[in-house]
């Protein structure tokens, strides 16, 4: 099942500094994840993490279309969503290391980063687990008349979870301002989505009365333009939407998933990286449009890289919470 991208969608209407910000955000996510992998391989990070490398344009393009007070819900592969919505890398690294300075005081970890100040309702380690929360947040916004929009990020694997259809039906009946953003990176863990997903992806939304669109998830301009349109629509009270972003994760399902040949070919990975890299694509366009020269972009890369280094240093140096913290925050 192939999903074509309507090229007209790439007629985005953002200014240079906005494009540049999106470029910086994508670079930030990529380099953040590089550091995470580094921390894992150097055995400095407890547990595992699911990297967002390759999918940067989805989170960045969508969050660029949102207001600071708009809500998002995220997934086990959530670092990119958090950063794109405005989280700061130092407190994220601290959370990944279980330090008290982390967004969740170290109690959440990689799969549970949440941050009210950026409207992040939380990453979720239950596949499809945040669909209800996102829909409820949209209910509140409509009920309270705040004009906020909620984006529910999930991977195509979550299409297997019935609760997603239950809440899309509710959102459709109640015309809630929520966008269900399905990141189709082709794999549910180690299984190709075509083995787990019958029928047409877009129909999963239209069957419940939601307008459904698909977009090239490696083209941040297309993602932004589409997300902007759907978010504005939702804000105007025109109801929810179902958005499929076609993308790819460059690395393993998690940092420990090294040998992947049994479920996908090196060549497939190579092709995506060389031909459809979202950061390179935007860079080429920015230069071609004379919005930026490559030096400027290199400077951004360098700045972000040192920012990430500093953030990691901060997190490594930060203290753990005291054991007594274990019994705190169970009840509000």
């Amino acid at each position: 099942m192939t999903i074509a991208t309507d090229q007209s969608k790439t007629n985005a209407t953002a200014g240079v500094e906005q494009w540049t910000r999106m470029y910086r955000r994508m670079v930030m996510i990529r380099l953040f994840e590089e550091q995470v992998n580094e921390l894992y391989t150097r055995a400095l990070m407890p547990g595992l993490a699911h990297l967002y490398v390759g999918q940067e344009a989805v989170a960045v393009g969508i969050c660029e279309a949102l207001r600071p007070d708009d809500y998002i819900t995220s997934t086990h592969r959530g670092h990119g969503h958090c950063l794109a919505k405005g989280a700061s890398p130092d407190r994220m690294f601290a959370e990944l290391l279980g330090k008290e300075a982390g967004y969740c005081r170290g109690k959440g970890g990689s799969m549970h980063i949440a941050d009210p100040t950026t409207g992040n309702l939380g990453a979720n380690a239950i596949v499809g687990g945040s669909a209800g929360i996102a829909t409820g947040a949209a209910f509140s916004s409509k009920h309270l008349g705040t004009n906020q929009v909620t984006v529910c990020f999930f991977g195509e694997g979550a299409l297997g979870q019935g609760v997603l259809y239950e809440v899309m039906n509710l959102a459709s009946l109640w015309k809630l301002p929520v966008i269900y953003a399905c990141e189709n990176n082709l794999y549910n863990e180690y299984t190709h989505y075509s083995e787990t997903t019958a029928g047409d992806l877009l129909a999963r939304g239209t069957a419940f009365g939601l307008p459904a669109e698909s977009v090239d998830g490696q083209d941040v301009r297309a993602v932004y333009a589409t997300a902007k349109r759907l978010a504005d629509r939702a804000r105007k009270g025109e109801g929810p939407a179902f958005l499929v972003c076609n993308t790819y994760r460059y690395t393993g399902h998690h940092v420990g998933d090294i040998n992947r040949e049994y479920y996908r070919s090196k060549q497939e990975e190579q092709q995506w990286k060389t031909e459809r890299d979202p950061i390179k694509n935007l860079a080429d366009w920015l230069i071609e449009q004379k919005h930026n020269d490559s030096e400027a972009l290199d400077r951004i890369q360098a700045e972000v890289r040192s920012e990430m280094k500093a953030a990691v240093e901060f997190a490594l140096a930060a203290p753990y919470p005291g054991p007594e913290e274990a019994e705190q925050d169970v009840y509000a």
Binding site: L121, H143, E166
Partner: protein, 331 residues
């Protein structure tokens, strides 16, 4: 209970009044559930609310327990105080992920930043001839889960006071109503009052034996206590009112005083409420007990439909009376 009490309300009326008063007091309170609006639920507990508060606050949902419970969680995180209605407690099976992996953990996992001030109202109780999928009492599951609070009113008075406390609580609260108690009448003050969680209520003072009971089993225990009185046994009846937080102190004190204890709960007897409370008392009153704590719960079987079968699966005044007499060595 304050002197002023005059009015009598049914359990259902008390629940409805608590909801109506809280909805008037706080515009953030809204109700989600199946047939909660015009129909007022199959038990008619919510009759009249949609007429007063309108369909934007008393919201009929599709038959999607997981979905609308999840919506309740998200709505609670973002400024509302949802009261989610799950018609039969048996359907909690469909909401466990939303309640346990989401509602109960959001505050803790987010390091105390997000809160989930929601209430899930549901029912428990057998003997309604409703069959195995409409008769379970699954409150032990929720009591087992950190992050949740669990209330189990046994009288109209407690129902109103505990429900108001639940709605004002900043945490997810699961509120169990025995569907067989809705018509039970009792005094309920018309003025505003709340009942704190974690405070057991001595429903009857006694000397010889303590009967700890929950929900409608409190009524069963009080009936048994009458019979025991006639048999010359003075029974104290204690209702924890909330299984979590649990008022261990009051239970243990009473056990120390009477030295004999029966725990009666309508949930399944194994790995449930009777085990927890019996263990707490056996530990706390270890040096005072004259006999092992006696546990009485639902028979370890799916609840059968046939009346003569269903009737033997749950504790009754008679069975509690006999167990108490035996425990006091008077059988």
């Amino acid at each position: 209970m304050p002197e002023v009490v005059q009015r009598e309300l049914t359990f259902a009326q008390a629940v409805r009044e608590a909801l109506a008063e809280e909805m008037r007091r706080d515009s953030r309170v809204c109700i989600f559930g199946e047939d909660v609006a015009e129909a007022g639920t199959p038990f008619k507990v919510l009759s009249g609310l949609v007429e007063e508060f309108g369909p934007s606050r008393v919201i009929d949902t599709p038959i999607s327990e997981a979905g609308f419970t999840g919506v309740g969680v998200g709505a609670a995180m973002t400024g509302l105080r949802p009261v989610v209605d799950i018609m039969f407690g048996d359907f909690l099976t469909l909401t466990m992920d939303q309640m346990v992996n989401q509602a109960a953990k959001v505050h803790y996992m987010s390091g105390g930043t997000w809160k989930v001030p929601m209430v899930l109202r549901t029912t428990l109780g057998a003997t309604r001839r409703s069959g195995a999928q409409h008769s379970q009492s699954l409150h032990a599951w929720l009591s087992h889960v950190p992050g949740l609070k669990v209330a189990m009113p046994s009288t109209p008075y407690d129902a109103k006071g505990l429900l108001k406390t639940a709605i004002r609580d900043e945490n997810p609260v699961v509120f169990f109503e025995d569907k067989m108690m809705y018509k039970l009448k009792g005094p309920v003050p018309s003025e505003d009052y709340t009942i704190p969680f974690g405070v057991a209520d001595v429903k009857r003072v006694g000397r010889d034996i303590t009967i700890v009971a929950t929900s409608s089993m409190v009524q069963v225990a009080l009936g048994a206590a009458e019979l025991l009185e006639k048999a010359g046994i003075s029974a104290e009846v204690i209702d924890p009112r909330t299984t979590w937080p649990l008022d261990e102190k009051t239970l243990v004190e009473s056990a120390k005083k009477t030295s004999r204890v029966i725990v009666v709960d309508e949930g399944y007897g194994r790995y449930g409420v009777t085990g927890e409370i019996a263990a707490v008392i056996a530990e706390g009153a270890f040096y005072n007990l004259e006999a092992p704590v006696k546990r009485m719960g639902a028979m370890h079987v799916p609840i059968p439909f046939s009346p003569p079968l269903e009737d033997v699966t749950v504790p009754t005044e008679q069975s509690v009376f006999e167990a108490a007499r035996a425990l006091c060595g008077k059988s």
